[in-house]
């Protein structure tokens, strides 16, 4: 099935309805495997003890926070360049999910940092960047909430998404620079050169599981949004039909 066929919302709904149970099942299986490995296979850190297990939620959340905006940027191109009718549905529904993962990343980051820093929040470069990303998601959701007409909101949101996509690396760079100005080395050293396989494998499984969770939630949210828009169209027609008399 070509991408152009999916432009038809009805066909997309059919596909989504067929895929969703499979996706949900696969997500559950991956989570089962990932959580098993996290708890029973992966070793505790010699310094941090069991708190290191927060990493298996924190790292996938950070990845999906960024993945969400990437998805929205592609969808924004779809709205502005190819005028794909489902593009702004995808963009709109990705924002709250991306925001949720960015938030999860912040919360797990602060919980993880608590035993090490002795405080819930430190203005660490990575956490600050994710916080800014989270704020941008919230701004995007506010934009969608402010305008009632989805197609008008869609084009505005697409422009803002792309500007944000260009800005995000600059923000990341600025925050890193700001941070090194004030304090040396970041606390997080995940992704350093030597990660043991016993940690890496569960992490990869968890990243995959979370990514599938994102895809499943996003597909379901898109389905809901399409139906919401149909309800809106029906009600507009109802108002039009009531015009006489």
């Amino acid at each position: 099935m070509a991408l152009i066929d999916l432009a038809n919302p009805t066909r997309f709904l059919n596909l989504a309805n067929r895929c969703l149970p499979w996706l949900a099942g696969l997500t559950a299986v991956l989570f089962a495997a990932g959580l098993y490995q996290t708890w029973f296979v992966a070793p505790d850190d010699y310094q941090q003890g069991a708190t290191v297990k927060i990493m298996y939620i924190h790292v996938p959340s950070a990845w999906l926070g960024m993945f969400g905006w990437t998805l929205m940027s592609i969808a924004a191109l779809g709205t502005l360049v190819w005028r794909h009718p489902l593009a702004d549905v995808a963009a709109k529904t990705a924002a709250p999910i991306g925001a949720a993962f960015a938030f999860l990343c912040l919360v797990t980051g602060s919980l993880w940092g608590r035993p090490m820093w002795g405080t819930y929040w430190v203005w660490d470069a990575r956490l600050t960047s994710v916080l800014v990303l989270f704020l941008m998601y919230l701004g995007m959701m506010t934009l969608w909430r402010t305008v009632e007409d989805p197609s008008r909101a869609g084009r505005a949101a697409a422009v803002l998404t792309l500007v944000g996509a260009i800005n995000l690396p600059i923000i990341k760079f600025s925050v890193d620079w700001w941070n090194t100005l004030h304090q040396p080395a970041s606390v997080f050293r995940v992704g350093g050169p030597a990660i043991d396989r016993s940690i890496l494998l569960p992490l990869i499984v968890m990243v995959l599981a979370f990514t599938l969770l994102f895809v499943t939630l996003h597909l379901a949210a898109m389905r809901n949004e399409i139906m919401r828009r149909r309800v809106r169209t029906l009600r507009l027609q109802q108002a039009g039909a009531g015009a006489g008399g």
Binding site: E148, R235, L236, Q238, A239, G242, A243, G245
Partner: protein
Amino acid sequence: MRLFAEDLDCVRGGRAVFEGIAFSVGAGEALCVTGRNGAGKSSLLRQIAGLVRVAHGTIALDGGDPELSIAEQLHYLGHLDALKASLSVHENLTFWARYLGGSRDGVDAALAVLELDRLADLPAAYLSAGQRRRLSIARLLAAPRPVWLLDEPTSALDALAQARVAELMRAHLASGGMIVAAAHGPIGLEAARELRLGEAV
């Protein structure tokens, strides 16, 4: 009951819009204010409603409730519809009915009369200009008040709706109400007296 004005002046932005206006409307009577653009039709209505200061002259309501001001005994239907786009048709009207002292039954009846009952649950944002105007007029029925001040009441309405609104106005007059309307064209009240602004000056 009688609404009257004597020697009324209106000054807006340092410019005299009209001077020495006088009129009297009794129970069951209608007054149609006409005149060219800028002659002060809207200003006169807003003066009666207490929304524009009266520079000189008097406006009074004989035989009204002495406890209430004139503004509290009238309905002002301006150019704007006073509707909230995100509230439903029913919520919009219920709010005005409650705020202006009407009853719950009045809301449903008013919606039915203006043929908006089928749209009751829709957000006002979805309505056409004519439907919005009708919803705005429904406010006059949902909370009964003796004086109606109508500024271009039939703008945006089609012929059928205009006839329906004219019917409502006649019913209001028949029950002893008063109407002061500003209009460019006929509003469907044959018995209305006319007050032409902008020529006597």
